[in-house]
């Protein structure tokens, strides 16, 4: 799922990009495919075990990159939440707030009203002040590492360094205990979604030592942290202050949830396939490893305990537009035609690994329009590719494809595809950290091509496109891996993201999607599907259309 490097933060359920399978482990899962892995209605009670390869879990909302429906959602409510469904787009719904926010006429001021009577696990009332304090903490350099979408939007955020020096952020107003008002530096239509990111969880001002808050956070959700042992296990127990009637998205099924950390995913997958007694009330938060995936698909004992998501994260081949070999758009378009997506998908494990991709906005996201600029045959069109290369005068093209070491087989499929059009590809594989330093950071001189994937942090076209194609996202660990810098597109992204009317915004995003692919900075390969395994005692294990991970908040145990 997300990114590699931060294993922990990202992992457990976090957000965005799916770079390495390995990392992915940690956290997020998904089910889909219509997928309702459950075998009936679950009740409440029991102990649910969640196995993960991550060695820690990030419970500090300021530093977490979790998606709204995974681990952090069990302990931290935010202003808004997600309602997921296997057969409908994910919706943003009120959580701590009574609605999903009211924008001002110009879209720059957003007002939320909190529900009455909510309390944190220590009995502190959840007020607008606690939400404001939680957000202010996320600006402290000592607590960096979380999702930062709000930080660039709130007025005065650039110069603000957190509440620990006694300063407060004036662009968040709290006129009374139930009302919180956000002043943005520009109109922003997706603000209700941004309000579902971790930093919008309440934190009381006397929350204790910020250094250790990640392991002893005060809960606002159905569970509190009972025990935290990095590298071993985390035990969550019921938070009696949580009021189920105030919460439409969390079921609070099991009495206790135990995370078993730093697990070997193959061993756990075997346990789940065999449905061992100690693995029946459990699921693996990490993707099922390829060998066990094949085994699970053919083992009648597994059946619907193997849950595969619908098409999710976009896997793509990024073409470094700043590399001299790829500066001519015709060469990049030739590569669009030359790539063999069917060979790529085979290398990734075949049909269960995903659907062929032709657009940047992924399925299940509002505003997406289906189109294909570069032909409909997943095997490519070698003649068109050669014609474009001839036109561009590109002969004897040799390109460096730099990938993480878990993507070498997929890279070979790309290599074979391009060879058909006379393009030679040299594959260089790096470990995750080195790849990140060379490709997401660095000056971009180390690669022509790279493989990556992107699962947005929130289900909006903006989160699909802006992080990958806005020029501000080049380098520094960001994900504009094509190093695509087109002022016209930057302006279009700004315009679309500022549009508050959802329908109007959707049309603008669809236009941006197509406009970018005309310049061919990336080849969309597949929308990946993620597969997860759970034991026979687990019910309501479902994966919505977004994200391609199971919704931890609704899982119950069949009793």
């Amino acid at each position: 799922m997300n990114r590699p490097i931060r294993r922990s933060r990202t992992l457990l359920g976090a957000g965005a990009l799916a770079i390495t399978a390995a990392l992915a482990l940690a956290g997020c899962s998904a089910g889909g495919n219509g997928a309702d892995g459950s075998d009936g209605s679950g009740g409440t009670g029991g102990t649910l075990t969640i196995y993960t390869t991550a060695q820690d879990v990030e419970f500090d909302p300021a530093t977490s990159q979790n998606l709204a429906v995974t681990t952090l959602g069990l302990t931290a409510r935010r202003l808004t939440a997600w309602r997921t469904s296997p057969d409908a787009p994910t919706e943003v719904v009120p959580d701590l707030a009574t609605d999903t926010g009211t924008p001002s006429e110009d879209g720059k001021v957003w007002t939320f009203t909190l529900k009455e009577g909510l309390k944190l696990a220590d009995g502190t009332p959840i007020t607008s002040e606690t939400v404001k304090y939680g957000l202010e903490r996320s600006f402290a350099p000592e607590l960096s590492g979380g999702l930062t979408y709000h930080k660039v939007l709130l007025e005065g955020g650039d110069d603000y360094a957190g509440p620990f020096s006694g300063e407060h952020l004036d662009s968040i107003e709290t006129p009374d205990d139930q009302t919180i008002v956000f002043h943005l530096n520009r109109p922003y239509g997706d603000f209700p979604w941004v309000a579902s990111t971790p930093a919008f969880a309440p934190v009381p001002e006397d929350a204790g030592d910020p250094k250790t808050y990640a392991t002893e956070a005060i809960s606002s959700g159905p569970y509190s942290i009972e025990k935290y042992s990095a590298g071993n296990e985390v035990v969550l127990e019921r938070n009696d202050e949580w009021d189920p009637d105030s919460d439409d998205v969390r079921v609070g099924g099991p009495d206790e949830i135990v995370f078993k950390l730093a697990q070997d995913s193959s061993v756990v997958a075997q346990s789940l396939i065999a449905d061992r007694t100690d693995a029946q009330d459990a699921f693996l938060a990490t993707f099922v490893p390829p060998a066990q995936l094949v085994q699970a698909q053919h083992d009648p004992k597994v059946g619907d305990r193997l849950v595969t998501s619908g098409p999710g994260a976009l896997e793509y081949l990024a073409m470094n537009t700043q590399s001299p070999a790829l500066s001519d758009v015709r060469v990049r378009q030739a590569i669009e035609y030359a790539v063999d997506k069917s060979a790529y998908r085979t290398a990734k494990g075949g049909e269960i690994s995903g659907d062929y991709a032709t657009t940047l906005i992924t399925p299940g996201i509002a505003g997406r329009q289906e189109y294909s600029l570069y032909g409909d045959d997943p095997a490519g069109d070698v003649d068109r590719a050669q014609a474009l290369l001839d036109e561009a005068g590109a002969t004897d093209l040799t390109l460096r494809l730099v990938v993480t070491d878990d993507r070498v087989t997929a890279a070979e499929a790309i290599q074979e595809g391009l060879k058909r059009a006379g393009i030679s590809v040299e594959i260089q594989s790096l470990d995750q950290a080195a790849w990140a330093a060379e490709v997401t950071a660095g000056d971009g001189s180390a690669y022509d091509l790279t493989l990556s994937s992107w699962q947005p942090d929130i289900p909006s076209a903006n989160a699909n496109i802006q992080p990958l194609f806005e020029s501000s996202q080049i380098g520094n660990g960001n994900y504009n891996l094509a190093r695509y810098d087109e002022p016209e597109v930057d302006a279009a992204i700004l315009d679309a993201s500022s549009t508050v009317d959802a329908e109007e915004a959707g049309a603008k995003w669809a236009a941006v999607d197509r406009r970018i692919l005309e310049d061919a900075p990336v080849v969309p390969l597949i929308y990946s599907r993620n597969s997860f395994l759970h034991g026979s005692g687990v019910a309501d294990f479902t994966i919505g259309e977004f994200p391609a991970y199971p919704n931890y908040l609704t899982v119950t145990l069949a009793r």
């Binding site: 979380g146 979408y149 620990f164 790096l430 470990d431 950290a433 950071a441 660990g477």
Partner: protein, 371 residues
Amino acid sequence: MIRMLGRAARSLAVLVVVVALTYVIFYLGPADPALSLCGRPCAPEDLEAARAFMGFDSPWWSQLGAFIAAIFAGRSYGAGDVAFDCAAPCLGYSFQLHQPVSTLIGERLPVSFAIAVGAIVLQTLIGVAAGAWSARRPRSLGDRAVTGASVVAASAPPFVVGLLAIVLFAFTIELLPTGGYVPLTENFGEWLRHLILPWLVLAFLNGAVYARLVRSSMIEQLGLDYIRTARAAGLSERRIGHYALRNLALPVTALVALDTGALLGGTVITERVFGLPGMGALLLDATATTDLPVIVGTTLVGAVLIVAANLAADLLAPLLDRRLASRRRFSPTSSVAAAASASPASIAPGVASASPTTPVPPPARHQEDPS
């Protein structure tokens, strides 16, 4: 005394070199640890701030100096209320796990200790017994079985053996858990149940080397003059076996010392396969996530353990082999004189001329991935 000081100084030098090399290798690598502390999206100024906060914005020698100084004086990261303090002996601070490295190691060491002690006891017992037994009747069916098994064990990849053991004991005959760890203080029975498989796997893998060493040395011993003399004098085979075995105490101790140090430092693959939160798993995860302070800290502690174990073996040697003790007392005497005054005489009275029981140096060995 001077010899001891010299040894200690050499050990210290080894440790400094290990730390410096680890630091430089990871510093020179392309990875940027600060990327993991920058949010998403990551603004350039946030990245700079993260580097400065983590102390990764200065040249490697300055970072290395700060690291070594912190071991003795402690250090803190950031300033004010949210400064992250790391008290001496500070081995750095893991920004990803939110804890000082010394705390992390303190949590993991008992797990590695539990793994190491059980494995060492089992592998020494099994290895020595199997080796000695098969040396009694070389080329017999039993001997061939032991030799064959030890070849398999010495050449099998640890993860394959570990996974096979899990499949056999945990899946096929649901007897033992597939992995995980329960602290001794929480539940002794569960602690034992979770450790049996890792112990057996390590004992199988590492015990092979003991079996081979003991077997070949025993065969050599049993062919020596003092044994022949002892036999001629009518001693029982059982006693003769004991005499021969006693001469292997030294090389076996050296091996045990090496293994103890290495196992305490963590067994990467065994810990990962069995889901045990020991030092090896800590190092492995830190490597995957470029958690530089953890990498350097665990490497340093692992090196300290190995150096200490070897030192202990050196100190024990004179107790196990009287010749070494006397050599030290009367030195420098010729080795012949030392040998003459030494053990075979004490074992087999009346055969003072016997015996060059030169301790067999431990062979180059297959050790399950010491970190």
